[in-house]
């Protein structure tokens, strides 16, 4: 079986699966259960200054799919509501009992250097492997000048990171908020401040749904609600993009990335790592299914690696980054056309109506005069290769997008004679 062990910004881990800073890592009891289940590490739920935060009831809500599967998850819980002392004691004990597992301590404090200078030695004394700066919590804490309120200002990110590096030898991971226009700015700031790594994404500002009788959003707290932080499967595409943005940014190239956001199985994890992540953090999937999911994640990842011949994670880490580029470097001469496998087609007509109503009218509906049977055929002349029919088709593999041999060479938009501003685009060799 493939070797799943990693070294992430100098921290060795038996596998790349860590639990993110969140309710599952709030106390020793949970963390020990996680380690027993096989997680490689945890990021302990964010510690802050005493007195500890106080939480409300209720706290979570979900965006459901068609069959009540949780697509997205929303929470309004604050950082730990237990005292700093208890948390530090428990961290010390668990680290002592589980020396081969990673414990990262998440921290959130006001932007005052003295506070950071005070807490760093205390964290270091626990034996923890590193710290993660919570610059991403989007609910509650920003109202107090912390969390995302810091993460949204690159100057603050750099400043606090530098304080931490000044007052501790521990590796510092900066956790980034996605509630920002360009995630590269805070990543660059973290690097400038001396960060050893970044982790992303934290949760996204969200309201999942409403009670239309009471006219209030969920989760409901005494007849009112507030926006929360969105996570779970639904945010994976957003997280993948942000990870890729940082991975392919020349200014942050090589900065270790811990991938977070909707990871629930080995494939999700492999995707984050292919886009540059060195390890992944999981929360929502564990909250929905329990810690045992790590078993299937490890098994699936190592079997896939064996199948592909990857002996270690570093062999495929970042492999998809060179293939992630700007739109302007895509090949204008590339062409795919939909092909419907008539043997697999169940004649639901979804591809037809999708294309007819909302795309390029490139699927024909043929009605057999005698039997009334419907057949759907692609009109190759009209098909632009948008993938919509393949996406809406309920039968996997029935519609395939077939690359056409156009006989034309690679030509991107900067080279395209149809580009009226081509002369203004700096031509860069595609990777």
């Amino acid at each position: 079986m493939a070797d799943l062990s990693i070294e992430f910004c100098g921290i060795k881990s038996i596998n790349p699966f860590w639990l993110a800073s969140a309710p599952p890592t709030d106390k020793a009891y949970n963390v020990v259960r996680a380690f027993e289940a096989g997680w490689g590490g945890v990021v302990w739920k964010t510690l802050g200054e005493d007195p500890a935060a106080v939480n409300v009831s209720s706290r979570y809500s979900a965006h459901y799919g068609k069959n009540r599967e949780v697509l997205g998850f929303n929470n309004i819980e604050l950082i730990t509501d237990r005292s700093l002392e208890i948390n530090l004691q428990e961290i010390t004990q668990v680290k002592k009992d589980w020396p081969d597992r990673v414990i990262i301590v998440s921290l959130m404090l006001p932007c005052e250097e003295a506070l950071w200078a005070d807490i760093m030695p205390k964290v270091e004394a626990t034996g923890a492997d590193g710290i993660e700066l919570n610059f991403g919590c989007p609910h509650g804490m920003p109202e107090r000048g912390m969390g995302a309120a810091v993460g949204q200002v690159p100057e603050y990110v750099e400043m606090v990171t530098r304080w931490c590096k000044t007052h501790s030898k521990l590796p510092v991971i900066v956790k980034l908020t996605p509630n920002i226009t360009d995630v590269r700015a805070p990543a660059r700031a973290a690097k400038a401040g001396g960060a050893d790594a970044v982790s992303l994404i934290n949760t996204i500002n969200s309201i999942t749904h409403l009670d239309l009788d009471q006219m209030v959003a969920f989760p409901i707290v005494g007849g009112a609600s507030t926006h929360g932080g969105y996570c779970g499967s639904a945010v994976k595409p957003i997280a993948l993009n942000m990870v890729a943005e940082i991975a392919r940014d020349p200014q942050t190239a090589g900065l270790p990335i811990s991938g977070i956001g909707g990871i629930g199985n080995w494939r999700d994890a492999a995707e984050f790592m292919a886009l540059g992540a060195g390890c992944v953090q999981v929360c929502t999937a564990a909250m929905l299914h329990g810690f045992r999911i790590v078993e299937e994640m490890k098994d699936g990842l190592s079997r896939w690696m064996d199948q592909k011949g990857y002996k270690s994670i570093s062999e495929f880490q970042g492999k998809a980054v060179p293939n992630t580029t700007d739109w302007k470097y895509l090949d204008m001469n590339y062409q795919v056309i939909a092909q419907i496998n008539q043997d697999d087609c169940i004649k639901c007509g979804r591809c037809y109506v999708a294309c007819e109503d909302t795309s390029h009218q490139s699927i024909n509906q043929l009605i057999d005069a005698a039997t009334g049977t419907r057949t759907y055929e692609v009109n190759k002349e009209e098909c632009v290769g948008c993938n919509l029919c393949e996406i809406t088709c309920p039968v996997q593999g029935c519609i395939t997008m077939v690359p056409q041999n156009t006989g034309k060479p690679y030509m991107n938009w900067t080279q395209d004679p149809r580009n009226p501003r081509a002369e203004n685009v700096k031509v860069v060799e595609a990777a």
Binding site: R68, I346, G372
Partner: protein
């Protein structure tokens, strides 16, 4: 009539105990099951289930409404096309209609969406404060409808909705036709047929007169003179004859007559139940008969059909129900002689084996006997003699033994229309009768409101 079995033993079990054998054959979906099942619908475009539905119900749309928790929207969508959507969801042979057409039958999955049960869920759980359909402005026109079965009720409801007044003439004591008298008890439970009629009448403008028999105390020429139009939804009230000696002997009767008595009985333990019974026929009525008599306590029930299983008009689903209920099925045999005991009562039947020779079914000459205390014939229905003895009805053009109508359900006589099982062509399905009634209503409305 059932009196011909009066000498037979009564069930040993009590009414309460027997009633348990006649609860819902297919239990309704609960909310969670409906949510899961509705999520399986692919919301096909130009959906095959809708194309095959004899009453044009937009299946994909009502299922999407169920999933989106818009139950009244789902019900309204069904009822708009089929005001008897509740009974159709229970009695429709969905296995040869919408559920057979469902794209999820495709090889890769082989499991259609349970459309019938979802339709039932929508209708059973709708909650309207008032009737979901409003009547159009009054036209001042009056239409007579003969027969309060599915065709007549559907026609009356649509005519009323379009602003016309309707009087229904029904021979029997209750409305509902076969839904009330002819469907297996476990398919339509809890007095559903009457509840559905009550719901339908909420629209207003419809009067039902019971005990009114065409050709008896009602004359078609009078209706023709008194009303702007007449719709005949006569159904097929008479059971076909086998043409054998002894067909009127005690112990032999039409399955539909027994089923009617069973459905109307308020004490099942008082029904005569033969210990050994033969059912002749291969349609859904034959299956309903065989299964019900078995459930009432008959020890040996044999269904005999002159052809093979594949030729049975009872669907595969129905045949399966029969097998599950220990009904013995004997194919390739036709009745030859009713066997009577000394008292002249049925003691069995002699059958001749059959085979297809040169494309034609014929007897092989080889015979066998089945001992039985009762014989139920379910070999098909035809129009009731009384109704077609009406002087004016007699002049209606026929197609075979059914009334001829054009594509607007007009008979050859002006302002007289017909639909349901009594017209040709027909599949003799409830859902089709409802469709006939609905379409005929539109034709009538257009013709009399020019």
């Amino acid at each position: 009539m059932i009196e011909s079995l009066s000498y037979m033993p009564k069930p040993k079990e009590s009414n309460d105990s027997l009633a348990k054998n006649f609860t819902d054959l297919a239990p309704p979906l609960n909310a969670r099951q409906a949510a899961i099942e509705s999520s399986r619908c692919l919301y096909c475009y130009d959906a095959p289930c809708t194309r095959i539905c004899p009453s044009d119900i937009d299946v994909a749309s009502f299922i999407r409404n169920i999933h989106d928790e818009n139950i009244n929207g789902a019900a309204a969508g069904i009822l708009k096309q089929n005001i008897l959507g509740g009974s159709c969801s229970r009695v429709c042979p969905t296995e040869i209609l919408c559920e057979d057409a469902c794209v999820r039958n495709h090889d890769a999955e082989g499991q259609p969406v349970k459309i019938g049960l979802l339709q039932r869920y929508a209708i059973d759980n709708m909650q309207f404060e008032e009737h979901p359909f409003k009547r159009a402005a009054a036209t001042g026109k009056k239409v007579a409808v003969v027969g309060a079965g599915p065709a007549g009720l559907s026609c009356a409801h649509r005519l009323a909705m379009l602003g016309n007044d309707v009087v229904i003439y029904e021979a029997k004591e209750k409305s509902g036709g076969l839904n009330e008298y002819g469907i297996a008890k476990y398919k339509l439970t809890d007095n559903f047929a009457q509840k559905e009629v009550d719901f339908l009448l909420q629209i207003g403008g419809i009067t039902i007169k019971h005990g009114q028999t065409l050709g008896g105390n009602v004359q078609l020429k009078d209706l023709h003179a008194q009303y702007d139009a007449v719709f005949l939804g006569l159904g097929l009230g008479a059971s076909k004859q086998m043409g054998l000696t002894g067909e009127d002997a005690p112990g032999l009767l039409a399955a539909v007559d027994y089923i009617a008595a069973l459905r109307q009985s308020d004490d099942l333990s008082k029904l005569p139940v033969p210990s050994r019974a033969i059912v002749i026929g291969a349609g859904n009525t034959a299956i309903d008969m065989a299964v019900q008599i078995q459930r009432l306590g008959a020890e040996e029930v044999t269904l005999v059909y002159r052809r093979g299983f594949e030729a049975m008009s009872a669907t595969g689903h129905e045949q399966h129900i029969a097998k599950e209920n220990q009904v013995r099925m004997r194919t390739w045999a036709q009745p030859q002689q009713v066997l009577l005991d000394e008292a002249g009562r049925v003691r069995g039947m002699r059958f001749e084996k059959t085979a297809v020779v040169g494309g034609r079914l014929s007897g092989t000459g080889e015979t066998f006997e089945i001992v039985a205390d009762a014989i139920f014939k379910a070999i098909g229905q035809s129009m009731d003699e009384t109704s077609i003895s009406d002087p004016l009805a007699k002049t209606l053009k026929r197609d075979g033994d059914k009334i001829h109508v054009d594509d607007q359900f007009r008979t050859v006589l002006p302002r007289i229309y017909a639909g349901g099982d009594c017209v040709a062509p027909g599949q003799d399905l409830t859902v089709q009768a409802v469709q006939h009634g609905k379409l005929a209503a539109h034709a009538i409305h257009a013709d009399i409101n020019v």
